[in-house]
Subunit: 358 residues, 4 copies
C-alpha cells in the first residue's frame, strides 16, 4: 500500500524513438501525468505525425526544446543526442527549477573523465547516479546498494542499452569470483531502433532486410568503458572485453552472448547457483529454467531481462545470454524503474512485465 | 466510477497464439483473475515453455482441456480450432456451469446456417451475439445497437480478424449509402500469427522471409460470408466482395485495403464526413488526419484500429485502409472489449490504446 | 547459333539500386563488356563501397556523370532520377555519339504529354520505344508487335516496375475481351528497394520492420497513366484503375493482386485459356499450374514473372496475381531483355530464369 | 582454355533447401547436365511444387530416392539427412557405379571416429576428402595441398556451413602463429534456411520475425569438432572454441564473429598481412579494404566469402568477421567448386561471384 503521489513529466526529444518509448511507459504508469513534450526540428507539429502508435496523445503539439518549456515539472526526461543534456540540466538548476532530471543519453554515465574523453572526444559533463538498480556493488551477491543510491536521487544517468544486457549477463559470475573478467567476449544482435531515427544509408530498410551488419568492431564502441565500470562495481579488479554489436533485421531487441573463462576447478552447479542467487528476487531479471534460452521476442515491450547461463567445459568458458528490449529495459523502462526509486514509489509500479509475442 | 467486479477467467488453448494473447490482455486488466489454463498436447507442461513472454505466469502448469477443468469460473475463453467450441459450451451448460463463454473461434459467428455449411463444410453450431461493438445496425451512423446486444450477454462470438479490419473500413460508407456494396474489393497484408502455431511448410520462416504469399484467393476464404453479414447489418441489401489475403513477413498485423465504387455524384467531403461521424466518438477506432495513412506497426499490441479513406475520382472509387493488430483488436482485445460490455464494466477498461513502436 | 557481338556499356547512376542491378545482370551476360560507371555525389569512390555484392568490380572507381564520360560506348544505361535522362540523351546525340540509350527512369515512357504533365508536373521529354517485349498490341493474343518495335531500336524506355506487374497480370483478359477495363483494382505489396537509396524517415529499417505502409493512395501514383496506356495497347477502349501500392518488409519483389469485373457469361475455362494462350511461349512470363499462387520469393534475382488467375464467380470478378523481382524483370532484367532485341541478339541471352530461394 | 567436359548429375533430396540450391548452381554451370532428381516423401510430384523458383525444371517429376534411380550418372549429389549418405554411396559402389559422390551432409567430414561418435551418437561412416579448397595445411600460408587432395577425387565431403565461415575467418592467424587457438570464441548469426525445411515450432515465421534465438549453446553444436579439425590442419596444436549460433530473421546467410587472443607483441600490420597473404589470390574469399565490414546481404546467391579482421589492442584480441551465403559458399557452391577440381575443370567454372543485393 502506498499513498498516491502523482508526478508531472516533461520529455525533451519526444519525437524520437527513446522519447516516444518514454512516453509509452509513462502513459501506462498510474501516477505519471504527461506535461510538456518538446522537440527540435519537429516543434510545432502534432505528436501523432511522429509517434502514430501513441493514440492517447495524437493531437498534442510538440513545443520547442527549451528550459522555459521544460521548467515547472516534477520530472524532466532528456531524450537527446549526447552532449546536450549537461547544459540543459545546468540551465534548469540555474533557473531554480528543482525537477528530477533523467538523462537517457550517455553524458553522465561514466565516473572516469579520462574514459569519457577517450571514447567521446569531448569534455566530461560529470557523473550522475547510475540508473541500473540491479547493479551489484563490491561484496554483494544481490543488489541493494545501487537501489539505495537511487532512492531519493534528483539525477539519473540511464545506462546504455547494450551495457545493461552485458552487465546483467556477466555480473553474477564476476561477483562470485567464478569467471575471469580480463578475457571477456561479447557479441550482440541489435535491433535497428537502437540507432535512433537518424537518416543514414546503412539504416535504410533495403540495406537491413535479409542482412546482418557488424559495426563499431575492434574495441571502438562507446559502451565498452561503461561495461568495464559496471563489472568493476560487481567486483572485478580489471576488465578487458572484446565487444562486437551487429545489426539484425528487427526493430527492437538485444540478444547479448557473453562469454568468460571459467576459473579453473569451478563446477557447473556453482555457476548456476551464483546466477540464481543474484536474480532469484529480482522483479525484472529472470534466470530461465535450465536449457531454455532467451529470445528477444519474449521481451518485446516489457521491462524484462531474460538470462541464461551454461558452462562449456571443453572450451573452459561460461556462456551467458541476455535478451532485453533495448527501448524498455534498455532505455525507457529502466529509466522509469529508477525514477520510481527516486520518487519513493514501489520500484515495479506501472512497469510492464509481460512482453508482446509472437 | 464503478464498483469493483473481480471476475475469474479460464482459458482453453492457452499455449497457442490466440490463447496467449488473451492471457496478455487479461493480465493487464484490473478486474480479471486468471483461473485455469488448459491445453491439448501441451497439458502438463509449464506455460513458460510455450509463452516465454508471459513472465507473470511462467511457472503455471497447463491443465488438460476438459469441462471439468474449465468449470467454476466467471468467464471461459475458448481459443480452440473451429468446430471444438460448440461442444464445450454445451457441456458446460449441461453441468449447470453458468460462465460467460467467449469463443475466439469461428463456430458461432454466422447467422446463416447455409453460409456456414458452404464455407466450413460441417453442421452449424448456432449463432452467438457478435463481439464487434462498433458494428453498425440498419439506420445507424454510430454504433449503439450492437453494444446493447452485448450488454449482459452470456455468449460472445469474437469476429474473424480480417473481418474486423474490412468491416471497420467499409461500413461507414455502406451505412451512409455512399458506396456500392455489390462490387467491393479487399486485399489484405497479414502477419503470420494469424495462421496460428501450426506446423505447415509455407509457415516456416525460410518461406516467409523476403516473401509475400497470397492464399485462399478467388472467393474461397471463410471470412467472406462474415464480412457480407456485417455489411448487411450496416445497411447493404446485397454484398459482393472480392477478397484476397496475403502473408507478409511480419509476425502480427493486418493492413486491409478495401475499395468500393462511389455512388455517382458523391463528393469527397461527404465521404470524409460519413467516416468521421461513425468514428468520432469511438474509443478504439480512429480516423487519421487527412493524408496520413495507417501502418500496422502503429497498432502493435494495442486494441486500436486506424482508418483512412480517400476518394479516387478518376477511378470512381473510394479506397479505405484499416490497420489493426490481428491478435488484439482482431482477436483477444476485441474479445475483452465485448466482455467488458457483457460484464457491465466500462467498455475500455484495461485495454491498451497505445501501440508498441517502432 | 549466333555470331558473337560484344558490346560495351556505360552506366550512369552506378551507385544506386537500379544501376547496381543493371551491372549485376550485365556481368552475367556473355557479350556485355562493362565500360564507364558514373555517379553523382559518389564519383571518385570505389564501386565496392556502394555495391559490396559486386565482387567482380569492387575496385572500379566511379567517374562523374557527364556525357564526356558516357560517350564512346555501344550502349548507355541511364539509372537516374526522373527528369535527368532526356537532357543526357540529347547531349549524347549532339556530340554525334550513336550509342543505344536505355532509360531506366520514367521520362520517355508515356505517349501522351498531357498525362505526363498531369502526373509529373514537368515538360514531357518525348516518347521512346517501350521496353516490355510481352506487351500485347491491338488484336494480338501473343506479343509480336512490341518485339518488332524493339528490334534494332536505338532508344528504350524501360517500364515502371509496378506497371510491368499489373500489365502482365491483366492484359490477357483485356485482349480477349473477357474483363471490363473500366473498373480495375490493383493492390501491390512492394519491397523497399523500389523506393531507391534515398534517405527518408519512412524508409528506415526501424519503420519498415514489422510494418506494412501504404503510399500514394487514392489515384496519385505516377504508374497509373502508364498502366492505362499499356492496357489500351492490349485492346481496352478506356481504362479506369484503382491502384494502391504498399511497402512490406522485404528488400525486393512485387506481388500485384489485380482484379477486374468478368464480362457476364464468361466461364472460367475461357479465362484460363486466354492467359494460357498469351503466355504459353513466353520465355519469362509463366502461368503457374492451377491452384499454385505466385510468391515474390520465387522470382528473386530472376527475370521471371509468375502469374496466376482465378475466377471468383460469387464476386463476379477475375483475380490475377503477378510476382516479379522489381529490380530484375521490373527494371534491369527487362531492360537487358529489350536491349538484346535492340542489338539483334537472342532475347533471352544471359538473363537469369531461375530465382534465388529460399 | 579447356575442352568441353559435359557431366551428368543426379541429386538425391532435390525437394529440400540444399538440394534445390545444388540444382540452382548446377543449372548455371556450362558443363553440367541435370539427370535424376529424387526425393523421399515428395517422390512423384513435380519439382515446381517444391522449388517454384527453379523455372527451368518446373515440370520435372521427382523420382524416388534409390540407387537404381541415382545410378548411371557422372556425379551423384546427396542432399540427405545425416546418416543416410554412407549407405547409398556403398550401394552405388556395390552396383559397380563409378559416379563421383558428393555428400552435402555431415557423415564423411570428420577424420576422428571418436569425435563423430561423441557429437553424432552413431557409428562413423568413414572420411572423405574434405571439400574446402581454401583449407590451409600445416606450413602453408596459401592453400594448395587441399586443392591437390580434391583434384581427381571420387568422393567429396562438403563442409558444414558454419564451419566454412569460422575456418576462413581464423585460419590465417592460426597458420601464421599470431593467435592462440586454445581460447577461441565464435558467435554466429544464421539465416533460417540452415535449419532445413523441417517442421519445428521454433522455425515458424511467427517465432522468427522480430526475434533472435540462440541454439546449441554451451559446446554441444556438431560443427565444433569440425572447426577444430580444420584449425589443426592450419597448424594449431590444440583447439578450444566457444561456439554459439543464433537464428536471426533472414532466410539465408551467416555472419560469423570470431575472436582469438593475440599472441603478445604482435602488431596490427602483421595481422593484416597474414590475412592478406592467405587470401590475396583466392577467387572466392575476399579480404575487404580496412574499415569495411562484411554483411551477409553482400554474399546472397554468391559463392563468395567476405572477410575482415581487426586487432582490439585493449582487449588483446583479434576479431574477424566472415559473411557467406550458407547455401552457396556454405553448401552447394562450395560443393560445385570442389567438384570442378575433382573433374579437372577450372575451379571457378560456372560459379557466381557477384551477389544479389539489396
Amino acid at each position: 500500500m502506498f499513498m498516491h503521489m502523482t508526478f508531472s513529466v516533461a520529455i525533451a526529444g519526444a519525437s524520437g524513438y527513446a522519447g516516444g518509448e518514454m512516453l509509452r511507459v509513462l502513459l501506462a504508469h498510474p501516477e505519471a501525468r504527461i506535461g510538456a513534450l518538446t522537440a527540435h526540428s519537429n516543434a510545432g507539429t502534432p505528436l501523432g505525425a511522429h509517434q502514430p502508435h501513441l493514440r492517447s496523445l495524437a493531437g498534442r503539439v510538440l513545443a520547442a526544446t527549451s528550459t522555459e518549456n521544460l521548467a515547472g515539472h516534477d520530472v524532466v526526461v532528456l531524450a537527446l543526442p549526447h552532449g546536450a543534456s549537461g547544459a540543459i540540466a545546468a540551465e534548469l538548476a540555474e533557473r531554480g527549477d528543482d525537477a528530477i532530471v533523467v538523462d537517457l543519453g550517455a553524458d553522465h554515465r561514466l565516473v572516469d573523465p579520462a574514459a569519457w574523453e577517450q571514447f567521446y572526444g569531448s569534455e566530461h559533463a560529470g557523473t550522475w547516479p547510475y540508473g541500473l538498480p540491479e547493479l551489484l556493488h563490491p561484496g554483494e551477491s544481490t543488489a541493494t546498494a545501487q537501489r539505495a543510491a537511487l532512492a531519493g536521487t534528483r539525477r539519473i544517468a540511464v545506462p546504455g542499452c547494450n551495457v545493461t544486457a552485458v552487465t546483467l549477463g556477466l555480473q553474477p559470475g564476476v561477483a562470485a569470483g567464478l569467471i575471469e573478467p580480463q578475457d571477456l567476449v561479447a557479441v550482440l544482435a541489435n535491433g535497428y531502433s537502437g540507432a535512433g531515427r537518424s537518416l543514414k544509408t546503412h539504416l535504410l530498410a533495403s540495406e537491413a532486410l535479409g542482412a546482418v551488419q557488424p559495426y563499431a568492431v575492434g574495441g571502438t564502441h562507446r559502451h565498452i568503458p561503461e561495461i568495464a565500470q559496471n563489472l568493476r562495481s560487481a567486483g572485478a579488479e580489471a576488465v578487458s572485453i572484446s565487444f562486437t554489436p551487429t545489426l539484425v533485421p528487427m526493430a527492437r531487441g538485444i540478444l547479448a552472448t557473453s562469454t568468460a573463462r571459467l576459473v579453473p576447478g569451478t563446477d557447473p552447479a556453482t555457476v548456476r547457483e551464483a546466477w540464481e542467487q543474484t536474480y532469484a528476487d529480482e522483479p525484472f531479471v529472470h534466470l530461465l529454467p535450465e536449457g531454455q534460452w532467451p529470445t528477444t521476442a519474449s521481451t518485446l515491450g516489457a521491462n524484462t531481462a531474460l538470462v541464461q547461463v551454461a558452462v562449456d567445459e571443453a572450451a573452459g568458458r561460461v556462456v551467458t545470454v541476455t535478451a532485453i528490449d533495448n527501448l524498455v529495459k534498455g532505455t525507457a523502462g529502466g529509466a522509469l524503474q529508477s525514477l520510481n526509486l527516486a520518487l519513493g514509489l514501489p520500484e515495479t509500479l506501472g512497469l510492464p512485465l509481460d512482453g508482446v509475442a509472437p
